[in-house]
């Protein structure tokens, strides 16, 4: 019945025509319908005119390396931010900065209703990129200055880098007349997690906006096998792991420090600092040979549980005195036992005069309940010291400032650690920019 001969009357039936590379004959697949301007033969890497029914050859290039393989194969479909996309094109680009070549990959995604968007990948860092809907606001006169910025949709983007980007490998379909060796001046502005980029080619400037994505998100979107490459370093628009507002945290710290000072003042005012014993004792080695220890007069500690400070003064001069103390509660037999050494040495040598030690000492006994007490004292001295007078003061309810010191450090450390983490991350980010932190500091130094 069907002989394959077209009927003689009526309109001709549309016929499907296979697309083949005019150079190598390999089958060409067009995924983006009429959107593609150029298509690249996957077999011989000829760049073909997708608008030409005969797929005219626009450029032939020798793939420098066959190792350039897209991490997301062409034709892969996935749901990106709720919309289905198909990967239709891939290109590798590079820029050369201070003799080092940096490569990155770009994927062209297509949805018949939403159009084209892009994914870029550099060292495991991904960006979801789309063309800007409105023209960003940028003052090109200050583009190379560290403070240069661009405004887009109410957000301010800081200038990060301007570089010459060159395309060195292409594959699949492109919505523009792509060529290997294509050159563009790319200027990036960042406002993490977004990056605003302008690409200047001949007489055309294209602005695009990208948002940072993590590799696992991409793998999840496209249901890719295996795991994404681990990101290396910090990317321009990578969000900082420190999500805390560092300035806000320092404000909170300052508020805490003020509260701590207020607390210190309040407790210092409230503290009784009540002297309960003041006695001067004489140590005489000749007398102490039998029994050196003795007890003080009895004294009362009133009020509630509080600190008790024992202060000692001994005019030691190139000598030491050691005092075994025990504060003993007459009623309960509870005792607080502690030893204190006072030593003071001084002299003169080739480095000049020197001294070490002190003639005074203070110890604070914690949480001593009210009651009747006495102090047992057992002195020991330097064998070369025959006699010495020393004074013992016992004061009840004294503030312990060390507690505030510890509290201050405890408040300060988390703020410091967070700030340091934020600082080192930002430093890594900007070290890859046209305005590295070292340059900023040295330029400000020059200004001085």
């Amino acid at each position: 019945m069907s002989s394959g001969v077209p009927p003689l009357s009526g309109p001709p039936k549309p016929q499907a025509k296979g697309l083949n590379c005019p150079k190598c004959g390999a089958a060409i697949v067009l995924r983006s319908f009429g959107q593609a301007q150029t298509v690249v033969c996957a077999s011989c890497h000829c760049i073909l005119d997708a608008k030409d029914p005969n797929l005219a050859i626009l450029q032939q290039f020798e793939a420098i390396t066959r190792d350039v393989k897209p991490l997301i194969p062409l034709g892969t479909r996935g749901k990106l931010r709720g919309t289905d996309y198909e990967v239709i094109g891939f290109q590798r680009r590079h820029c050369k900065i201070e003799g080092i070549t940096y490569y990155w990959h770009e994927y062209i995604l297509f949805n018949p209703y939403k159009g084209i968007r892009y994914l870029s990948e550099y060292n495991g860092h991904w960006n979801d990129i789309s063309i800007c809907k409105t023209l960003p606001n940028v003052d090109r006169a200050f583009l190379d200055s560290p403070g240069a910025s661009a405004g887009y949709l109410g957000e301010s983007y800081k200038h990060f880098q301007t570089a010459d980007a060159n395309t060195d490998f292409v594959l699949g379909e492109f919505p523009w007349q792509v060529r290997v060796g294509e050159h563009a001046v790319v200027t990036d502005f960042v406002h993490p997690p977004r990056i605003l980029s302008s690409e200047k080619m001949a007489n055309e400037v294209t602005w695009s906006i990208g948002e940072y994505m993590y590799g696992p998100e991409i793998w999840e979107c496209f249901k890719l096998p295996g795991t994404p490459p681990e990101p290396m370093g910090v990317f321009a628009d990578q969000p900082s792991p420190v999500t805390t507002n560092v300035t806000g945290m320092w404000v909170t710290f300052a508020a805490f420090a003020v509260l701590l000072l207020a607390l210190m003042a309040a407790f210092d005012t409230r503290a009784k600092k009540e002297p309960v014993l003041q006695q001067t004792y004489q140590y005489n080695r000749a007398d102490a040979k039998s029994e050196a220890s003795f007890v003080s007069d009895e004294f009362a500690l009133g009020g509630g549980t509080s600190t008790v400070q024992v202060k000692t003064y001994a005019p030691v001069d190139n000598h030491w005195i050691y005092l075994n103390y025990a504060l003993i509660n007459l009623d309960t037999g509870q005792a607080w036992d502690f030893g204190r050494e006072l030593s003071y040495y001084h002299g003169y040598d080739s480095d000049g005069s020197w001294s070490e030690g002190k003639q005074t000492d203070s110890v604070v006994i914690p949480s001593v309940p009210a009651g009747h007490y006495y102090l047992r004292v057992e002195p020991e001295t330097d064998p070369s010291l025959p006699r010495i007078a020393y004074t013992v003061d016992v004061i009840r309810d004294v503030p312990v400032f060390g507690i505030y010191g510890i509290a201050f450090v405890a408040l300060f450390l988390p703020a410091l650690v967070i700030s340091w983490r934020a600082y080192t991350f930002e430093r890594s980010r900007w070290s890859e920019s046209d305005h590295p932190p070292m340059q900023l500091s040295s330029s400000s130094g020059d200004d001085d």
């Binding site: 805390t244 909170t252 050691y322 075994n324 025990a326 509870q334 005792a335 036992d337 914690p366």
Partner: protein, 61 residues
Amino acid sequence: MFRKFYLLYGLLTLSTAAFGQYRGWSLDAVNQLKNVPKSVRDNPGSYRSVYSGYHHYTGGK
């Protein structure tokens, strides 16, 4: 999130400092003993200090 944590942590730190001050905490190391005999008052030599036998610094540069 961290700021909330820091706020709570800071308040806890201040409360602890205030409580410690109120309860008479100290940073000095003091040994506590119980049931010291009343006879020590009359015979101080019968008490054996925890810190006796301490090695003394006989220093100088």
